[in-house]
Symmetry: C2
Subunit: 446 residues, 2 copies
């Protein structure tokens, strides 16, 4: 159906009758997909074809660029209508991406309660629980009955992001329990909420990091989690559909940091080359200057190279293998810490594990390397042994550095993800060259 | 409370009365955490303290090692009781981790229907939709009423993994619609399911890859998704809590591939050093031998190095910067493709973008580099220019290779994640040295 719709939109003359018949049968997320890449005129035309009941829902799935085009084409009252029917968290996501003049116009046209909520949510720091929560939920009192709970759900349900968990609060809004829709459906109409509610609360505070919240969702297998303020008063909920996005966002951030990039929220194709370049230059520069130090290490051994020029041929192999061995260790440690599988108290255990792994890998690589060099370099045992020993020591150093640095970063409350391939490689490069030339000088009496 | 429990378990003499009082107040996932690291005796002791209603739930959260200890300590009928009350997908997850003799004993002691279901689920390929689905769901007929639907939920709800979406099927089990609990609660008791159900179906087939399924959950913001066979007959559902784990699993796999590691499902601390070493050796070996080629490139330029030994000092800087510039491009492209933000048809667009980014980064790095080398190497303009030009060409090559290779892999249906830092670095190393020495030879007439 999406293909049909795309085809319809591609024609110069749009067949309005067929479009009107097609849209109601489609999933709103699929309709939203079609907007991407359309011309400004077609975006506005297509959006105007949507029924009122679909318009806000489709809007929440559309990318920011297209959202802006639509908003700019709508009247004030149309804007108010759409944003009033968005969930508060979706409205905030959208507003955060808009330029100031659009934000102003949007806020002027929403109803006062919504404006208050949006302004409040906009104030929470980025990536905090408060910034991803919504204020639309069902709350109940302990002395309500199951029947009254159902009435409350029916009355407010359509505007609530999730009605499958109801939150039980006291008069002062302090959270005291939760009741799932499942429990309500299995209970008798006259039972008191206080008697059937679950008081084992899993909740988070507005200022908690979204990554921590995602970890709790994963651990407890939740559909929604209540968010409380410092006095444990209920202020919002976070739903699992947003958490799925948070997890991907946090992973993207780690991939970027581990790839020597400044993290960015925008999709690659929608980011300008100037922004993309500036996200890369700082790390490239830092690492380039660090590599210069490695270069001066080589210069320091120039006389050794002059005596034995063949030594230079093994530099790339030593540097690359050291980098890769270190990257392997740091990747596993960084990922293990992100998933909570490795904790700081495991540091010694991890180190001891890596030492033994390094010994195993080092022996395997060195043996193969010795044979290869011995056969291919005129059966020069001293040379073969020098390179082989250096390789073994390099792997050992690389694995140690690769596992220790991320844990060290974590202890210093720096994101361990920056202690990944690029930085580890640069550090290990220098170390491996010092080892290599020192062994060579000793072996050949240079 | 978890800390209290840990403290209680740490004492030589366990205070049974306090333990019995503490357990019912705790969340099952938190209790499961406590098992980790306990001795075999204490694991069994603690597990036996759990009430029947908690035992199966806690069991599903415990790690495989501890699950095995518990199962080995239980009687046949106790095993049957626990596994019968596990959801089918949790039972399969558990069985897949057990050795053959435990599997045999478990299957002998579950009830026949459960055994049939488990055997059926075990047959689906790893990482397929079938392997993560459960067969416990609520199905309805079109001519049922809302009242009958609630009766069906109440009757079967306790054994169903999710009751918040009901699936409407025909007599031949063909899926025709879905009805959310929200719709049911907002409908009148006498309405027909066929009239209120949603026929815009989002479903998956048993053989679909779990990564694709996770992408659909993200796109449509679902709580559960029906799984059908080749004739569109409903055979199971996948719930969002399992998808959260699938997403982390798939990300871990990408991190591992991008870190030159063979992917593994087991947590780092629970994997033997032999297994960890064997996951690393193949890539280390392949990359070590590739780096040997880079080494022979240098050897080929030995006469140039003999004439101008200072050239060797810039090798690490060129190699590392090339590797990092390529890694940045490949990281963004691999991640963009994993999230569906970059598609194969965008290849030319991506390439053109990277060329321009490379030019920007190249100019910035080269200028700084020129000044540094010029000032620090006796104002040798020819040398400074040689290194600077090589650096610029290296960055250009690195960004091109870094963005093209992952897309090329995808076109060949190979996982783009293997075209990451380690391989890109090795490839770019060779290229950068050829560029460097060629320019040097031309500049100095060697």
């Amino acid at each position: 159906m999406k293909e049909q719709l795309l085809l319809l939109m591609d024609n110069g003359q749009i067949d309005m009758a067929r479009l009107k018949a097609l849209l109601p049968q489609m999933n709103t997320a699929d309709i939203a997909d079609v907007f991407e890449g359309l011309s400004r005129e077609k975006i506005i035309q297509l959006y105007r074809m949507l029924s009122k009941s679909m318009a806000a829902d489709v809007f929440s799935y559309i990318d920011a660029d297209e959202q802006q085009i639509i908003i700019e084409a709508l009247t004030d009252s149309e804007i108010g209508e759409i944003v009033n029917s968005l969930f508060a968290d979706d409205a905030v996501d959208f507003i955060e991406e808009m330029p100031a003049n659009v934000v102003k116009r949007v806020l002027q046209n929403v109803n006062p309660e919504k404006r208050t909520v949006i302004n409040q949510l906009l104030r929470y720091p980025e990536d905090s629980a408060g910034s991803i929560m919504t204020t639309e939920y069902v709350d109940l009192r302990e002395d309500a009955t199951v029947r009254e709970a159902f009435d409350a759900i029916r009355e407010t349900g359509l505007n609530r992001e999730t009605i499958y968990t109801c939150y039980v609060i006291r008069r002062d809004r302090m959270l005291v329990g939760v009741v799932s829709a499942k429990t309500l459906m299995l209970a008798k109409p006259d039972e008191r909420i206080g008697d059937i509610m679950d008081t084992k609360l899993v909740f988070t505070q507005t200022t908690d990091d979204q990554e921590k919240v995602a970890g709790m969702f994963r651990k407890y297998g939740l559909l929604a989690m209540p968010v409380v303020d410092t006095e444990q008063r209920l202020v919002g909920i976070i739903t699992v559909d947003d958490i799925v996005n948070v997890i991907e966002e946090e992973n993207t951030e780690d991939f970027e940091k581990m790839g020597a990039l400044a993290p960015s929220d925008e999709p690659y194709l929608k980011t300008s080359i100037l922004k993309l370049a500036s996200n890369r230059i700082v790390w490239l520069l830092v690492l380039m200057l660090s590599a210069t130090i490695t270069g001066s290490i080589i210069s320091g051994f120039e006389e050794a190279l002059a005596v034995l020029p063949v030594l230079v041929a093994f530099i790339p192999m030593l540097m690359d293998t050291g980098g890769n061995a270190g990257t392997q260790a740091s990747t596993l440690v960084i990922r293990g810490m992100a998933l909570g599988e490795i904790r700081l108290k495991d540091m010694l255990r991890v180190f001891w594990k890596e030492i033994r792994i390094a010994a195993l890998c080092g022996i395997a690589l060195s043996s193969i390397n010795f044979i290869r060099i011995y056969l291919m370099n005129g059966r020069n045992a001293a040379l073969s042994l020098t390179v082989t020993l250096s390789l073994f020591a390099t792997v050992l150093t690389a694995k140690s550095v690769g596992c220790i640095l991320p844990m060290f970063a974590k202890r210093l409350k720096v994101d361990p993800a920056i202690m990944a391939a690029p930085l580890i490689t640069t550090i290990v490069d220098g170390a491996s060259l010092v080892i290599y030339f020192s062994i060579a000088k000793a072996a050949f009496n240079i």
